[in-house]
């Protein structure tokens, strides 16, 4: 994904003030992207391969895996930044409200919920809410990370 190769400033703790909202990140869920993602993690669940399998579960279009959240949540706060080296993910929470389907246009909105220091380490809590093209909430992802800079 070429957008990740663009030179961007580092996202530092000083910038991560509570209630900071990031520029929304958009992701188009197409066959090619989902196929590449599934090949990467070797997930061969048939509901992602064809619409008829998805229909057996009551969905009209082929589905995309919720594990995409591990990608779009990170991208939601790094759209205009790079991650300084040495960060550690401490804790994560995921809530999946509805399916992602092939053809969806996702809008991911990230916000700093909290930041604090403990035992000389800097912690940041960021929550990403992701919506589909119908403005329906697809997922929320909350991360707590030790921020390196």
């Amino acid at each position: 994904m070429s957008e990740f190769m663009v030179k961007k400033p580092e996202l530092t703790y000083d910038e991560l003030k509570p209630n900071k909202e990031f520029e929304p990140y958009q992701m188009v869920v197409d066959d090619t992207m989902v196929g590449k993602f599934l090949a990467t993690i070797e997930d061969d669940n048939s509901i992602y391969r064809n619409a008829s399998a998805a229909k057996q579960w009551g969905y009209g279009r082929a589905l995309a895996p919720h594990s995409l959240a591990a990608v779009y949540a990170r991208a939601s706060y790094l759209k205009n930044y790079t991650m300084p080296g040495g960060g550690i993910l401490v804790k994560q929470d995921f809530h999946f409200f509805r399916p992602i389907q092939i053809g969806d246009h996702l809008l991911c909105k990230a916000k700093v919920m909290d930041r604090f220091q403990r035992k000389g380490r800097k912690y940041v809590v960021i929550e990403t809410s992701t919506y589909n093209q119908n403005r329906e909430l697809v997922s929320t992802v909350k991360i707590e990370a030790i921020w390196p800079k």
């Binding site: 994904m1 957008e3 990740f4 992207m33 590449k36 993602f37 090949a39 990467t40 993690i41 070797e42 997930d43 669940n45 057996q56 579960w57 009551g58 969905y59 589905l63 895996p65 919720h66 594990s67 959240a69 591990a70 990608v71 990170r74 991208a75 790094l78 991650m83 080296g85 993910l89 401490v90 804790k91 994560q92 929470d93 995921f94 809530h95 999946f96 409200f97 509805r98 399916p99």
Partner: protein, 143 residues
């Protein structure tokens, strides 16, 4: 699974089928491509040798994606619309070449208004049983 057999058999103490994956350098490189995380700790084996871990390691979110895959397999559409995965912690690193086993156990099932609320402890482990990921999953099953 079709709509007729969606009444899943779940009960406290039930163990969930284990998913096994071999983590390869190819997988790690491709995860870097799809996620944009090209940290040399993941993609550069030579750099990895110079670090605290003495090896490069897989991206934590990639291992987490195996957990989400398992939960989708276990709970199907009930997971896709309403699943929650909480308090997920990455406990130990995964070097390329590792085999990862993802599993879980149902800790409680609560009945409420025609549906069952299923609580699980989930894990990812190395072959020698060392934990990689711990967490809790919640799923509402109708019927």
């Amino acid at each position: 699974m079709n709509r007729k057999d969606e009444r899943l058999s779940v009960f406290a103490g039930k163990t969930l089928a284990v998913l096994r994956k071999r983590v390869t350098q190819r997988m790690i490189n491709e995860w870097a491509e799809v996620s944009g995380d090209f940290n040399p700790l993941h993609v550069d084996p030579e750099f990895g040798k110079t670090t605290f871990f003495a090896t490069n390691i897989a991206h934590g979110p990639m291992i987490l994606s195996f957990v989400i895959e398992s939960l989708t397999t276990w709970f199907g559409r009930h997971w896709i619309s309403g699943g929650r995965l909480e308090n997920v912690r990455l406990v130990s690193p995964v070097p390329p070449g590792s085999e990862v086993a993802v599993g879980g156990v149902v800790t409680s099932v609560e009945m409420a208004e025609g549906s069952r609320s299923v609580n699980c402890e989930i894990f990812a482990k190395h072959q020698d049983d060392r934990l990689i990921i711990t967490g809790n999953a919640y799923c509402q099953i109708e019927g």
